[in-house]
Amino acid sequence: MSVAVREQKRSAWGGGYSPFKVEYGKLMMWFFLLSDSFTFGALLISYLTTRFATMGWPDPNKVFKSYPGASEFANAPLVFVSVMTFILIISSVTMVLAVQAGKEMNKKAVIKYTLFTIIGGLLFLSCQAWEWTHLYREGAWWGRNPFPNFDGSLSSPNFTNFFFTITGFHGFHVFSGVIINIVMLIMAFVMYSKKEDII
């Protein structure tokens, strides 16, 4: 058999090359996020099916109406919750800015924005800690729901059950993110002080 080599056409999927031009760590992270979204998806769908199968449900405007330092009679429906959401969104903006700074090889900006992201994450976790403590003092916990339904009737404990389980799992998710960001911050600092390239 003659073995004159034919020129192989080189393509993104042809082997010897990453088809998405990313290293394996990033690829893994994408797939991990996909699987993580399935975990949260399952929890949220569980919540939704139970919510719609239950006749009554508490009024969130009456449950989440306080904020740190407020008096017992404060009535600020969903304000503190909105603040927490805002903090979370801002911290994802700073995360994007940190990644962009990394692409531009701007080490100082990487450190700055990573630091902001960590602060945002810690701020969110602190808010959550306050919120949980506050609700606990009002008598809410797994298996205990002091809040009445919209129509004033006695509510099932599944409101608090799902609230604490899902926000708890989300808090764990944010906490792991903060830890990973701290590790990256340290790595960025080391590279900054050694004047190494950021890969």
């Binding site: 058999m1 003659s2 073995v3 004159a4 080599v5 034919r6 192989q8 393509s11 999927w13 042809g14 082997g15 010897g16 090359y17 990453s18 088809p19 998405f20 031009k21 990313v22 290293e23 394996y24 760590g25 690829l27 893994m28 797939f31 991990f32 996909l34 699987s35 993580d36 399935f38 975990t39 949260f40 998806g41 399952a42 929890l43 569980s46 099916t49 139970t50 199968a53 239950t54 797994w142 298996g143 205990r144 099932s156 404990p157 599944n158 059950n161 799902f162 389980t165 799992f169 890969i199």
Partner: protein
């Protein structure tokens, strides 16, 4: 920095090929065989752990078949061996339920998921796509150690005062959620849940690695459509696992809270022993949805790697290209997608809306299409081939036989009109044991016999292997075929003793027959176990790099490849892996460039 260098950095950085040999001398027994990061060693660790689990899981079935086949006979040795579980020479009721539960859990998760895909994904992916190791060897090692940890936790539950979990491998609440409902739902269930959470972690670590290795680290010329079907099989099962195990994980989290933190996600309006429980507002069916959203893809997680291995072994030993390579790949894709859309066919009798049920019937029957395409492709691969009946090939053909026999009854069960009658009967037991239990085992045996020379540099004894094949094939059919008749007659699964029912008394002798065959077939498996361990040390030595005259890349490595697989450069690939009997040439390895006068496949 070029991409090639970055992609291979993990292994090449530490074990640069040039320095490879000298590095190896410094490796101690611990780093080489125990905490190894070499994908080949990790694959063997999965395999041997899987074999030990299979023996234990099989022995459990022998024990509960003793009860089913001989309910009136006493076996005094049972009390000697099992203590209170074998009181008076009978398997105790609680023990019977534990044994069936743990048999299912062990076989589905620890043998056919961990043992099968863990072994062959680890062993074959880097060797067949031309990579030095997995994308992350460290995560790969952790995947095995989480698997072992899960195994140890599950096994330890046998030594609890209250025994291991006994509520069925599907662990439906409320039984699995309430410790006061049964002994097995006490600490045994906690350990079962802990073990399975570790198992999910292991599957995620492994699966992410398999996916990113296949996508990112193929050698030059190894396009996706030049990958052997064995790699496609494990790649797609990893995708399935990464997307479905998290849902099971979420379901388990809610179950753990129901057990210990006073929630009622799955619980409502329950009396246990005359006592009213405070749980309200939950829904036990919710768990079934979450469980089967994993549970159904799980059977494809089990069967896809087996399908891949069988395709590869069959083409090699029929000395013919696999028939319809792209149809094979497309069917596997179709199976992956449909796998997520059929879960509620396990739940036709839960009070599911009959209209919704009919949607799931349709989607379920659709799976018959890709499955049938695959079966016909295997048959046409065999058609007029120069078949070499190696032991691996026998098991590959046996796989197809079992897959057809078990698959056809799936069409019955997929129809809700029939399923409502034969749900939870022995018909279901017969169906899934043939189509995904024994068939997947055959895929695993086929893989072990075929790749043993690459794993250990020696052959397994083929005479023993052939006897093992016939004992297992005939045994499997004799055990599960009669169960179809029992199922048609309405005999429910999971019962401890059928002799109290007038309708099932006719099956006393049939049950006895099945139990005797179970004992013989289980004993026959020791032919394999002996052959496997004996051949590691004393088997006939492999003298040729490519003993099966195969095309794929793993046979271009040295007979006993070191960590890093190829001593020099990784070979480049020029063609698909199934050029057997092309232009009168028996086989053309993937590394052979396409000649001027040759047509590209």
């Amino acid at each position: 920095m070029s991409h090639e260098v970055v992609l291979q950095a993990d292994v090449a950085g530490v074990h640069g090929t040039a320095h490879h040999e000298e590095h190896h001398h410094k490796q101690s027994f611990i780093t080489k065989y125990v905490f190894s990061q070499d994908h080949k060693i990790i694959g063997k660790q999965f395999l041997i752990t899987g074999i030990i689990w299979a023996i234990l899981g099989g022995f459990m079935s022998v024990l509960f078949r003793l009860q089913l086949g001989f309910p009136d006979t006493t076996f005094p040795w049972l009390e000697t061996v099992l203590g209170k579980w074998g009181k008076g020479g009978h398997i105790a009721q609680e023990a019977y339920y534990s044994l069936t539960t743990i048999h299912g859990t062990v076989m589905v998760f620890f043998v056919l998921t961990g043992g099968l895909s863990g072994t062959f994904a680890n062993f074959l992916i880097p060797l067949q796509i031309g990579a030095r190791d997995m994308a992350s060897p460290l995560m790969n090692m952790l995947s095995y150690w989480f698997f072992l940890l899960a195994s140890v936790v599950l096994l330890s539950s046998f030594f609890l005062e209250t025994g291991p979990f006994s509520g069925g491998w599907t662990a439906y609440p409320p039984l699995s959620a309430l410790g006061q409902a049964s002994d097995g739902s006490k600490q045994g269930m906690d350990m079962w849940l802990t073990a399975l959470v570790f198992f999910v972690v292991s599957q995620l670590l492994g699966g992410l690695n398999y996916i990113s290795t296949v996508l990112n680290m193929r050698t030059k010329g190894m396009s996706m459509t030049r990958m052997p079907l064995s790699v496609w099989g494990v790649f797609l099962q990893a995708v399935l696992g990464v997307l479905s195990f998290p849902v099971l994980f979420a379901g388990f989290i809610l179950l753990i809270f129901d057990r210990h933190f006073g929630t009622s996600f799955y619980l409502s309006d329950i009396f246990v022993a005359g006592q009213i429980l405070p749980h309200e507002g939950g829904n036990a069916i919710l768990y079934q949805h979450l469980f089967w959203f994993l549970g159904h893809p799980e059977v494809y997680i089990v069967i896809l790697p087996a399908m891949g291995l069988v395709s590869e072994v069959m083409s090699t030993n029929a000395r013919k290209p696999i028939f319809g390579y792209s149809a094979m790949v497309m069917s596997m894709f179709a199976i992956v997608i449909l796998a997520f859309l059929v879960w509620a066919h396990h739940m036709f009798v839960t009070g599911l809306n009959p209209f919704l049920g009919s949607v799931f019937v349709l989607l379920t029957l659709l799976i018959a299409v890709p499955s049938a395409i695959k079966v016909f492709n295997w048959l046409t691969t065999l058609w007029r081939g120069n078949i070499r009946f190696t032991t691996g090939m026998l098991f590959a053909i046996g796989f197809v036989s079992l897959f057809i026999s078990g698959g056809l009854t799936g069409i019955y069960l997929g129809n809700s009109a029939i399923d409502i009658h034969i749900h939870d009967t022995y018909f279901v037991i017969a169906h899934f044991h043939l189509v995904m239990g024994v068939a997947a085992f055959f895929g695993m045996f086929c893989g072990v016999y075929h790749w043993f020379p690459k794993m250990f540099g020696r052959f397994m004894n083929s005479t023993l292997g052939n006897i093992h094949f016939w004992v297992t094939l005939i045994g499997a059919y004799l055990i599960f075929w009669p169960m179809h008749y029992e199922g048609f007659a309405g005999m429910p699964r999971r019962y401890y003793d059928y002799s109290g029912w007038e309708s099932f008394k006719q099956f006393i002798s049939l049950n006895k027959f099945i139990s005797i065959v179970v004992i013989i077939t289980f004993t026959g498996q020791f032919l394999f176990v002996f052959n496997f361990f004996y051949s590691i040390f004393k088997g006939r030595k492999v003298t040729n790099k490519n003993p099966w005259q195969s095309n794929t890349l793993e046979w271009t490595t040295p007979i006993k490849p070191l960590h890093g697989n190829w001593p020099g450069e990784i070979p480049e690939v020029y063609r698909w892996p199934y050029d057997y009997g092309k232009d009168g040439v028996d086989f053309i390895p993937q590394t052979t460039p396409v000649g001027e006068d040759e047509s590209v496949h």
